[in-house]
């Protein structure tokens, strides 16, 4: 255990700098640069709000915020896992030539996406101020669901990154899976819209719990009870452990397949 920790500390600056590199590359050629991280969710919100309030006539209170909170979490999970999935293959040239702990790569992608999410979170705050949605004391507990979500994503990323090395089909399957996942997550529809049996199904979706938690803080002005916290922690920790075990078991063989 101590050995793992010293090894991690040695490569800590590498991890951080890979994140910085990704951020630099992402915005290098765009005029507005980092502003896009804020503008993108804002523009998306305008489109979705226009569609849903006029076309489908949803009557969710504070729909733009309702949508943005869900969008924030969902896009973080899909972005981080998709980037992480190809991170090992993408670093083939490095893995073959230098010793680097391999978990650095998926972990780095998760941190990168997390930073992106924080930028987009600024967009949410701006919209809240514009729409005069009150920022309540519970709002400031937002790091809690974000942490749960991050741990969950890291676990899933480890699993996908390792699996994708051996079977490139995983990427195709996963893109279908995320589409289904999006519709099983209440991002732009209210839970009441679902038929009863679907509600049952949706409770097995970890994202549903994280998003509800986040909305409770931002819009509902209450902190979810112990049971909700336990469910969220349960999903996160189990996913992390499964991902880590799978990754650790397979990592020595990566180099033969990348």
């Amino acid at each position: 255990m101590k050995q793992y920790l010293t090894n991690f500390l040695k490569y800590k600056s590498l991890l951080w700098n890979l994140v910085v590199r990704d951020l630099k590359i992402k915005y290098r050629r765009s005029v507005l640069g980092f502003a896009w991280s804020i503008l993108n969710p804002l523009l998306m919100m305008i489109v979705i709000t226009a569609v849903f309030q006029n076309l489908f006539r949803t009557n969710i209170e504070n729909f733009p915020i309702y949508y943005l909170t869900g969008y924030l979490f969902f896009s973080f999970v899909t972005e981080s896992t998709n980037l992480a999935m190809t991170s090992i293959i993408g670093s083939a040239s490095l893995i073959k030539k230098v010793y680097i702990p391999k978990y650095i790569f998926p972990l780095e992608k998760c941190i990168f996406s997390f930073v992106n999410m924080l930028f987009s979170f600024i967009a949410t705050i701006i919209v809240m101020l514009v729409l005069k949605v009150p920022i309540t004391p519970t709002f400031f507990a937002f790091p809690i669901p974000m942490l749960y979500l991050f741990v969950f994503s890291v676990g899933l990323s480890f699993f996908l990154a390792a699996a994708n090395v051996f079977f490139r089909d995983v990427a195709h399957l996963y893109s279908v899976f995320t589409t289904a996942w999006m519709y099983l997550t209440p991002i732009f529809y209210p839970m009441e819209m679902l038929p009863e049996f679907m509600v049952e199904v949706v409770t097995f979706n970890p994202l549903y719990h994280y998003i509800l938690y986040f909305r409770a803080l931002v819009l509902g002005n209450h902190i979810p009870d112990l049971r909700t916290n336990m469910i969220c922690i349960g999903f996160s920790v189990i996913m992390l452990i499964l991902g880590l075990i799978f990754f650790k078991k397979k990592q020595d063989k990566f180099i033969l397949y990348v």
């Binding site: 600056s13 590199r21 630099k24 030539k97 230098v98 089909d169």
Partner: protein, 243 residues
């Protein structure tokens, strides 16, 4: 403690599938047909040796004899199928120059990134930054993306970063054959300086004269097996006559 590298009974086997199976469909088709058998290829066959501290250890052998595989096992990139390789001290592998350069980033950014890849801290690279640039002779091109560099420039930068540390163990794989003669001389001088400073060096080279010039001990690999190990002159002469 007098040993720098200890290689014990290392065997490295590869599954050499006739075609690369990387989709689930292919995998199941093969599985059902029952020909998911791989031909096993032994790249290294129970290789054992010790390298003493401060020694310059050469490895010779024909193409495909397992030299590079052995270096990869020693530097921890590959995990051996059986046996183990222990390394005492920090190691700087020069298996390929510029591994981990990002073509979109500038030379300055890449120096830092590559330094981190080798496990250094920011403070350390800050200190060494000027001498890295000076050695690579790239002062004018610091803020140019690497993708616009010539391959010689990339190699110079890579060598300069990898050798700026004083590693306990330096691994050199054929890299002395890059760049023009002037730079080659410079590299060899740098390696000699390190050797004088007590660094253990493991060199792989096809140039037998280079090995004779630099090494104390030489290992001759043939098809993954140890053919001969011992004094430089003895092994080099046998190697010359053997081929």
């Amino acid at each position: 403690m007098n040993t720098a590298v200890e290689v014990k009974n290392v065997t490295m086997k590869f599954n050499m599938s006739k075609e690369k199976i990387d989709s689930i469909k292919e995998y199941f088709v093969k599985l059902v047909k029952g020909n998911l058998l791989y031909t096993e290829f032994t790249a290294l066959d129970s290789v054992s040796f010790d390298v003493k501290k401060g020694e310059v250890f050469g490895i010779v052998g024909l193409n495909g004899s397992g030299k590079s595989t052995l270096l990869k096992v020693v530097s921890g990139i590959l995990k051996p199928s059986t046996g183990q390789a222990k390394v005492f001290g920090n190691i700087s592998p020069l298996i390929e120059l510029g591994a981990g350069f990002d073509p979109d980033l500038t030379a300055r950014e890449n120096i830092y990134l590559n330094g981190y890849v080798l496990g250094h801290t920011k403070k350390y690279i800050d200190e060494k930054f000027d001498s890295i640039v000076e050695f690579a002779e790239l002062e004018e091109f610091l803020d140019v993306p690497i993708k616009n560099f010539s391959s010689g420039m990339v190699a110079r930068l890579g060598f300069s970063i990898a050798t700026i540390v004083k590693p306990d163990i330096l691994i050199v794989d054929e890299i002395l054959s890059v760049g023009d003669y002037k730079f080659q001389e410079k590299c060899e001088k740098r390696i000699k300086e390190m050797m004088a400073g007590g660094t253990t060096v493991i060199i792989v080279s096809h140039s037998i004269t280079q090995i004779e010039r630099l090494c104390n001990t030489v290992l001759w690999l043939e098809k993954g097996k140890m053919k001969m190990i011992g004094d430089t002159n003895e092994v080099c002469n046998a190697y010359r006559n053997g081929n």
